[in-house]
Structures are given as C-alpha cells and as structure tokens.
C-alpha cells in the first residue's frame, strides 16, 4: 500500500462520516464539491487525458438532466432507468460532435468553438421545446423531504450527499482504470503528439471518439443528479456557457490530466467562492457577479503561479509522486 492509496482511503473514510458533523448548509456545499469533482473528472478524460478541449460540457449536463427529468415527469420512469437513456442520449450527442470534428480534422481552438456552438444551439432549441416546458422550465414533483425514496430519488439532502459521493468515487475509479490501461496510454499519446501516436499504432479517430463519448456519457449522470437534486431545469441556466466554464475550472485549477486535480480543484473553487460570498454577506455586502470575478482571479493566479495546477505541487511536496513510474501513481 503506497502513500497515495492510504491518503485516498483516509479521505474516503472522512467523506463517509462527514455528514455527522455537517449542518444543512455545509452539506449542500459538500454536495456541490462532489458534484463538481465528478463532472471535472469527466471533462478531464477528454481534455486532461486526450487533449480535446470542450467548453460546452453544459450540453451533456443539460441533455442528461432533461432526458431523465422528462421521462420521470411524463411517463413516471424511475431515474435509475432514466439515467440509462440519458447516458445513451449524451453518448449519441458526443458522437455527433466528435464525428463532425475529427472526421473533418477540426482540432484545437476550432474544436472548442464547435463544442460551444453545440451547447448554445441546444439551449436555444430547448427554449422552444414545449414538451419539457420550453423557456418556462421543467419542474419535478417535490415530495416530503422527510422520507427518503431512493427508487425515485426524492428526499433528504443526505441521500443526495451519498449519491454525489458515489458519483465522485466511481468517476475517480473509472478515470484511474482508464488511465492505467491501453486507452489511457493511447489518449495521452494522442494529446502529446498525434503523428507519433499514429505511427505507434493508435487509431487516433477511434480513440478520440471514445474519449468524447465516455466523457459525455459520464457527464449525463451528473445532469441526472442535477435534475433530481434541484428539481427544476431551465435551458437558460443549465445549458449556459457559464456552467460549462464552471465545470472546467476545477480540473484546471486542481491539475489538468491528473486524477486528484478535479477533486482538489472542486474543493478549492467551491470553498473559495462560497467562503467569499458568505464573508461578504456577513459584512452586509451583496455584490452581484462577485463569484464570476473570483473565478477569473483564481484561474489567473493558478495559471500564473501553478500552471500545471495545485495537485502536482502538493503531490511533490508530500511525496505522493513517484516521477516516471508509468504515470499511474505520479499522475494520480
């Protein structure tokens, strides 16, 4: 058992018993952290591992959320089934984006623009999609919060805390597993040099598609979670580019391409923004947009002083990194 594994299990243990010590507000902050850690992990597979920049991940959050919510609202389909459909829808959407981009050799900035475009026109489409409430929003039936209905994902925030934890853990495990195997090697080879990857036998198109599909599919689950946790969906809100940016902040600040970066980044971003908003509120100020300004400052500082994110610095400092040992642990 090496140091990073021990630290990881300790963290998991703390997270499992944490709700005992948390009030309602702190519980909601933790849920947000775990949620962002999970979506960050999904985004990181595409960008951090495979080098394909998406600034439109709100597309998958929104599609996943709307799919499961609409199935539940209109047909009474339980979210556990709805999420399968949601994943399928998002994998299909990701395949379209990926196919268009990679078949026609669109890369780098242009690919990022394409992801924004897809999220934006889906937002506009949903604004006029009456079946799911159009711009007026989709509202889920809210039951008594006292009784927990795990089957329909209705109930107490505590249930959502553990669901978010389960998502974050499974996202981490899936990423770790991918990174260790052939796909992880191929993704990173593509990220570092496509020509070399091809020459070494990597079917670049196929693996880029795989990265986009798995990332989109994972993000769909975050959308389902979002829908059932917040109980309301508005296209303006869920497909908003601001949400896409929020998703990518955590892994960038935490450490792009690393396994712990998205988790650490989610904690840092959330604690900072919640902390400052709270502090300002306590001092009697309410400044609209302060969160966004803060995001900008945090991002700027992290790029200036820790261009590879916070995690690599910490990993070195505390001996979690074993440079060069096949990247399972040093990049973990």
């Amino acid at each position: 058992m090496n140091r990073s594994k021990t630290a990881l299990l300790a963290l998991l243990a703390v997270l499992l018993i944490a709700p005992l010590a948390l009030d309602r507000y702190l519980l909601s902050v933790m849920i947000l952290i775990l949620y962002l850690a999970y979506v960050g992990q999904a985004w990181n597979i595409m960008m951090g591992f495979c080098g394909q920049l998406s600034i439109g991940h709100a597309l998958y959050v929104g599609l996943g959320a709307y799919t499961a919510a609409a199935l539940y609202q209109h047909f009474g389909v339980i979210p556990w089934l709805g999420m399968i459909v949601a994943v399928a829808v998002c994998v299909a959407a990701a395949s379209i984006v990926g196919w268009l981009a990679f078949r026609f050799g669109i890369g780098g900035t242009y690919f990022a623009l394409l992801t924004i475009a897809f999220a934006e026109f889906t937002r506009i489409g949903f604004d006029h999609f009456d079946w799911v409430g159009a711009s007026g929003g989709l509202f889920l039936r809210v039951e008594q919060q006292g009784n927990i209905d795990l089957l329909n994902l209705r109930g107490h925030p505590l249930m959502f805390y553990y669901l978010a934890l389960a998502l974050a853990v499974s996202g981490f495990v899936l990423s770790a597993w991918l990174l260790r195997g052939r796909a992880g090697f191929y993704f990173r080879a593509i990220r570092d040099n496509e020509d070399s990857a091809r020459a070494a036998g990597v079917d670049v198109f196929r693996y880029k598609m795989f990265a986009v599909q798995i990332s989109g599919g994972m993000t769909a689950l975050a959308g389902v979670f979002f829908a059932f946790y917040y109980n309301n969906l508005f296209p303006e809100q869920i497909f908003n580019i601001g949400r896409s940016i929020e998703i990518i902040l955590a892994p960038i600040i935490g450490g792009i391409g690393t396994l712990f970066g998205p988790i650490l980044g989610a904690a840092v971003v959330t604690v900072l923004s919640e902390g400052i908003t709270e502090a300002l509120a306590a001092a009697g100020y309410e400044i609209p947009g302060v969160r966004q300004i803060l995001y900008g400052v945090a991002l700027g500082l992290s790029i200036m002083f820790m261009p590879h994110g916070i995690w690599p610095v910490i990993a070195r400092r505390f001996g979690f990194a074993r440079p060069g040992t096949e990247g399972d642990d040093d990049r973990a």
Partner: protein
C-alpha cells in the same frame, strides 16, 4: 529484384511517385527489401528520402505506384494500420510524448494488438534494454538529450514488434562511439530477432557498417543501388552528392 543473398521480398515499392503541387518529390521509385535484410536509403538533402518513408508508413498517399508488404498492398493505408501490419517507423524530427516517461512512451508502441498492460510493459522493457536505455526508463521524455530522444523513437517503434523497422536518420547528431553502439544494437536486433531494417542515413560510417544493400535517391529518383562499396564508387552517386564539374 531482391538482393543477392536475401530471402523473399518483404517490402516491394514499385513505380511509386508523389508530387507536391509542381514538385516531384518521389518519381517512379522502385525498391525491394528482402526478409531479414538491412537496406540503406541514401541521397543528398531534399532527395525525397523522407517522403518515400512517409509513403511506405502511410503518412502520405502515393499518386501512383504500388507498395506491397508481405505481398499485400499497403499503399494508402492509415499509419496505424501500417503499424498493425508490422511496420514500425521513427521520425527524423523526433516526436516523443513529452509528458510521458520513457517507459510510458515505449509502452504506447507495446500495446500493439494487445490490451494487456503487462505484455506492453514487458515489450517496452525489452526494447529499452535492446537499446541500452533501461536505466533511463523512469525519466520524463522531455528531459532527454537529443541522442536519447532518437533512441527513444527507435525503442517505441521496436516495442510495437515490427517485422520491418523504418529508421529515419536515427544516427544524425550522435558521436562516433554512440553511432557504433547504435549500429551494434541494430545488428543484434537483426541477427537475434530477425528484424528487417530499412534506414535513411547520412552517417556513412553507419551505412557502411550496417547495410547489406544501398539505394541512392536523387531528385526523387533511384539513381543507383548495390552494395555499399559499389554505390560509393559509382561516379553518378559521387556527382549527386558533390555536384559535377562546371562545364560538364
């Protein structure tokens, strides 16, 4: 037209041409590499050597002509398909996976045809040992010196278990002692593992020591072929390198 003491043809390039706009980079080039041979492709700068490599490796599509590997046409196939067929290549301008360690770089090649991580790692270790690079396996590729990056290119290609290895100027910039080590390594690979080698090389010391046969490319055309000694004493070849006397 295989070499005198070579086995059956492994790679057959016949009448292959490639134009870039008006420039004829390769013009009806024909060459053969027999199984188990070490063949060198030489020629002055800009002769079309790398273009010819790229045509074989699938990085470029030939305008005309046939490229056959083990009797099957590979012209126009994708680079990863060519790799899967058993041709490993290096790049003249090295292209390591900079954010991966040395062994990870080589393991990418080692995953050819398998998803078994342990097998990929074993192949990578074998390739690195064959090139006397094992002691550097944990370093980051970006931290390597140029000669080591060249060896890394070879190791990555080697880990994909190629039948034919295409080496594009892997000895350029090496010191003579390093060249000799590399030559010895290729000889070993050829003798012990039966790897066939086609190499582009400017370092004549290496060509003379390694190649059983040599093709000379000039202005996209093969102007001579034969043993290293035959080729270097060919007046046409000498002229292509040094130019002809004025007024000729």
């Amino acid at each position: 037209m295989t070499g005198p003491d070579a086995g059956p043809a492994l790679l057959e390039v016949s009448g292959v041409s490639k134009h870039f706009r008006g420039l004829k980079a390769v013009s009806s080039a024909t060459l053969t590499v027999g199984e188990g041979e070490i063949v060198a492709l030489i020629g002055p700068n800009g002769a079309g050597k790398t273009t010819l490599f790229n045509l074989v490796a699938g990085a470029l599509m030939p305008d005309e002509g046939q490229i056959r590997f083990r009797g099957r046409s590979i012209a126009g196939r994708r680079p990863d398909q060519v790799c899967a067929a058993g041709i490993g290549r290096t790049f003249q301008i090295v292209k390591p996976f900079a954010d991966l360690s040395v062994i990870e770089n080589v393991m990418v090649g080692g995953f050819r045809g398998t998803a078994d991580r342990r097998l990929a790692r074993a192949r990578a270790e074998e390739a690195l040992r064959a090139l006397d690079m094992w002691d550097q396996h944990a370093r980051m590729a970006s931290a390597l010196t140029l000669p080591d990056r060249k060896r890394l290119e070879v190791a990555r290609a080697l880990a994909s278990q190629p039948t034919l290895l295409l080496l594009d100027e892997v000895m350029a910039g090496l010191r003579p002692t390093e060249t000799d080590l590399m030559v010895a390594a290729f000889r070993r690979l050829n003798a012990e593992r039966g790897v066939t080698i086609l190499l582009i090389e400017h370092v004549m010391r290496a060509v003379m020591a390694l190649a059983q046969r040599v093709y000379v490319l000039h202005h996209g055309e093969i102007i001579a072929s034969g043993t290293p000694r035959q080729v270097t004493s060919n007046p046409q070849v000498v002229a292509s390198y040094l130019g002809t006397v004025a007024g000729h």
